[in-house]
Symmetry: C2
Subunit: 346 residues, 2 copies
DNA sequence: TTGTATGCGTTATCAC
DNA sequence: GTGATAACGCATACAA
C-alpha cells in the first residue's frame, strides 16, 4: 500500500502532518483557515490531505472545545404516519438551514423505547431534542434541561417537567367540527377515536363532548368508540356503529388513519345501499380531495408545526433562557380536504 | 448550587469521581460493568452518578477506541415523497434493531447539496451511508470506501464508483405495464415521466419504449412528456395530452406524484364528459384503492427496499469485503393499488 | 510563520 | 479492588 493511495484506516492530522513534513498544528491551521500559513507549506499540506484522503473528525473537534455537536434528535411516535413524516421533513429542512444534523427515532408509541432512544441521544450529546412524547412522565429529563440540553415537546405536552411545547388546537378543532355537524341538524353523532389517555385523543374527545353539550345533545355512550389504533380497526368500528340499531347520521374521527378506516366502511355500506353518513375527521391527508365520498377534515399546517418546534429549539440553542413557552397551532375546517400532492420529484 | 442538585454543566466522570471520592477509572468500571468493583464503592459511585445526573459521553468513548460511532447516514432526494418516507421508516427500524442511530438528510435532488451532506456525515464519522444519489458522479467516495466507510446506494446505481446497490426493476415494471395496455388494444399510449437523466426516469422510459416496440406500435413523440417534476405539472401535461387532437386512449405515468396529477386531469376531463382514459402508474400509494377512477399501478415493496439496503450495509459494517453486490427488487401489477393505510396510531 | 505543551472525556494498560 | 498514566484526534495558549 503506497502512501500515495492512502492507508487502510481513516487518516488523522498526524498522518497528514507526517506526510507533509510539518507539525499537527500546521495541518490544523490549514484545515481551519484563519491563522496565517506559509503558502508553500500550505500547499504541501493540502497535497498531503488530498493524497491521503483526510477528512477532519468533527467529533474530536467537538470534544476539544466542549461545545455543540450540531446534532439534534427527533423522537416521534409513528414515523409511518404521513403526518409525522411531514413533520420530520419540515424539521429536517429547518434544522439543515440552521446547520444542524438530524437523528430521527421512532418509538412506536412505546414509552420504554422512547426512554431508551432519548438516553442514547443524550449519550451522543445532541444539542437538543424534539420529542413527540409517548411516555407518561418526562421528569427524568429535568436535570438535563438545566445542564444545557434543550428539549422541546411536540403535539403533546410533557408531564413531570416544564419545557417548551408546540401543540395543535385539538380541543377547539374537534369542538368546532362537531358543532358544525350539530348545526346541520345531526342529533346522533358518532365518535371514533384513538386512545383517550394520549393527549390528542383526550382533547379531541373532550372537544366532541363539549360540542354535544353546547348543542344540548346527550352524550350517548354507544356512539363513542375510543382506543382504536389503526385504519382497519376503525373500519370495523365504523361498520359496527353504522350498521347498529340506532346508527348515527354523522361521524367524527380523531385522526387521519381512523378517517380512512371510516371512509372504507362507508364505501362498503354505500355499495349495499346504506344511507349517506356525514363524516368529519381530524387531520388533513393527501388525496382527501380526490375521494368521491363527501366528507371534510379538520386541517392544520403540519409543516408549520415542524418549523415552529424547530425554531423554538434553535432559540434555546442560541441561549434563550426565558420561561417555557407554549405555542398552539390553529386548525381550520377543510371541506373534502385540500392537501394536494404538491411535492415535486425533479 | 448544591452538589446534590448537580452543576450547570454536563458532568463528566471526573465530577462523579470527585463526588464519590474515587478515581475516574473506578467510575468507568462501574459505568461499563464487567470489571469487578467493591459493592460499597460501586454503590457510592452509582449514588454520585444519580446525584449529578451523569451520562456517559459516547462520543468520547468512540474517540478513545477509535471505532464505530454506531451512526449511519441516510441521504435521500425527496423525503416529502411518501415513497421515500416509507423507505426511511424501514431503514430507521432496521437500523435501530441493529443498534445503529440514523441521521437523515434531504438533497432535494440537488447534487451540490448531496455532496455537502455526505461530506458532513463523513466528518461526523458515520460508520456507513445509504445514498439515493442525486449527483452524477460519486468517485469522490472511492477513497472513503477503502478506508472503512461503507456505502450502499439505493434506487439508483452510482457512477464513478463500484459499490453495493439496491434498485427496483424499473425497466421490467414499466415494460410489463405498457405491454398490458397494448394487449388490451390500446394503440396510442401516452407517457408522462420525470427527468430521463435520472436513472429511474430513464429506465422506465426505456421500458415504455421497449413495450411499444414489442407490440409493433410506433413511438410517437407527441405522446411523450418527460422532465415533469410534480403533481401539478403532471396534471397540466395530462390535460394537454388528453385534450389534444389525437389524444391517447391510455396513459403511463412514471411515478406516484405524476400518477396523482394525471388522475386529477382525468377527473376534470370526465366532469366535462371526456372519454375514459386507461391509466397505469409506477409506484403504489396510499388510498389508491379508494379512488373511484379506474387505474392501476406498478407496485413494489418500499419497506423491502429499505430493509434490504440496510441489511447490505450492516453486512459491510460487520466486515463483509466481497465484491459489490447488486440487488433488484421486483415489481408487480396492482389493479387499483393495494396499499391500504395499515399503520396504527395507538 | 511554525512548533510545544496541554486538555477535552473516556478507556487500555499496567502497577499497586 | 483500585489508581496512575497514556492515548484517541483535535484545538487553545503560549513560546520560539
Amino acid at each position: 500500500m503506497s502512501p500515495a493511495t492512502g492507508g487502510r484506516h481513516r487518516p488523522t492530522m498526524r498522518d497528514v502532518a507526517r506526510e507533509a513534513q510539518v507539525s499537527v498544528m500546521t495541518v490544523s491551521r490549514v484545515v481551519n483557515g484563519g491563522d496565517p500559513v506559509n503558502p508553500q507549506t500550505r500547499q504541501r499540506v493540502l497535497d498531503a490531505i488530498e493524497r491521503l484522503g483526510f477528512r477532519p473528525n468533527s467529533l474530536a473537534r467537538g470534544l476539544r472545545h466542549n461545545r455543540s455537536t450540531g446534532l439534534i434528535g427527533l423522537v416521534v411516535t409513528n414515523l409511518a404516519n404521513p403526518f409525522y413524516s411531514r413533520l420530520a421533513v419540515a424539521v429536517e429542512e429547518t434544522a439543515r438551514r440552521l446547520g444542524l444534523a438530524l437523528i430521527v427515532g421512532n418509538t412506536d408509541e412505546d414509552a420504554a423505547r422512547e426512554r431508551q432512544l432519548v438516553e442514547d441521544l443524550l449519550a451522543r450529546r445532541v444539542d437538543g431534542l424534539i420529542i413527540v412524547p409517548a411516555g407518561e412522565d418526562h421528569g427524568y429529563l429535568a436535570g438535563d434541561l438545566t445542564r444545557g440540553t434543550s428539549v422541546v415537546f411536540c403535539s403533546r405536552p410533557p408531564r413531570g417537567i416544564d419545557a417548551d411545547v408546540v401543540t395543535v388546537d385539538d380541543f377547539g378543532g374537534a369542538r368546532d367540527a362537531v358543532a358544525g355537524l350539530a348545526a346541520k341538524g345531526h342529533h346522533r353523532i358518532g365518535y371514533i377515536g384513538h386512545l383517550a389517555r394520549i393527549h390528542t385523543g383526550g382533547e379531541r374527545l373532550n372537544g366532541y363532548l363539549a360540542a354535544l353539550a353546547d348543542a344540548g345533545l346527550p352524550a350517548a355512550e354507544e356512539l363513542v368508540r375510543v382506543g382504536i389504533t389503526g385504519a382497519e380497526e376503525a373500519e370495523r368500528a365504523a361498520a359496527d356503529l353504522l350498521g347498529g340499531p340506532a346508527a348515527p347520521t354523522a361521524l367524527f374521527t380523531s385522526n387521519n388513519l381512523l378517517t380512512v378506516g371510516a371512509l372504507r366502511a362507508m364505501r362498503t355500506l354505500r355499495a349495499v345501499g346504506g344511507a349517506g353518513t356525514e363524516l368529519v375527521g381530524f387531520d388533513d391527508f393527501d388525496l382527501a380531495d380526490m375521494l368521491e365520498q363527501p366528507f371534510s377534515v379538520v386541517a392544520y399546517d403540519a409543516e408549520l408545526l415542524g418549523r415552529t418546534v424547530t425554531d423554538l429549539l434553535a432559540d434555546r440553542l442560541a441561549g434563550e433562557t426565558g420561561p417555557p413557552r407554549a405555542v398552539v397551532i390553529g386548525t381550520r375546517p377543510a371541506p373534502r380536504g385540500t392537501l394536494a400532492a404538491r411535492q415535486a420529484t425533479r
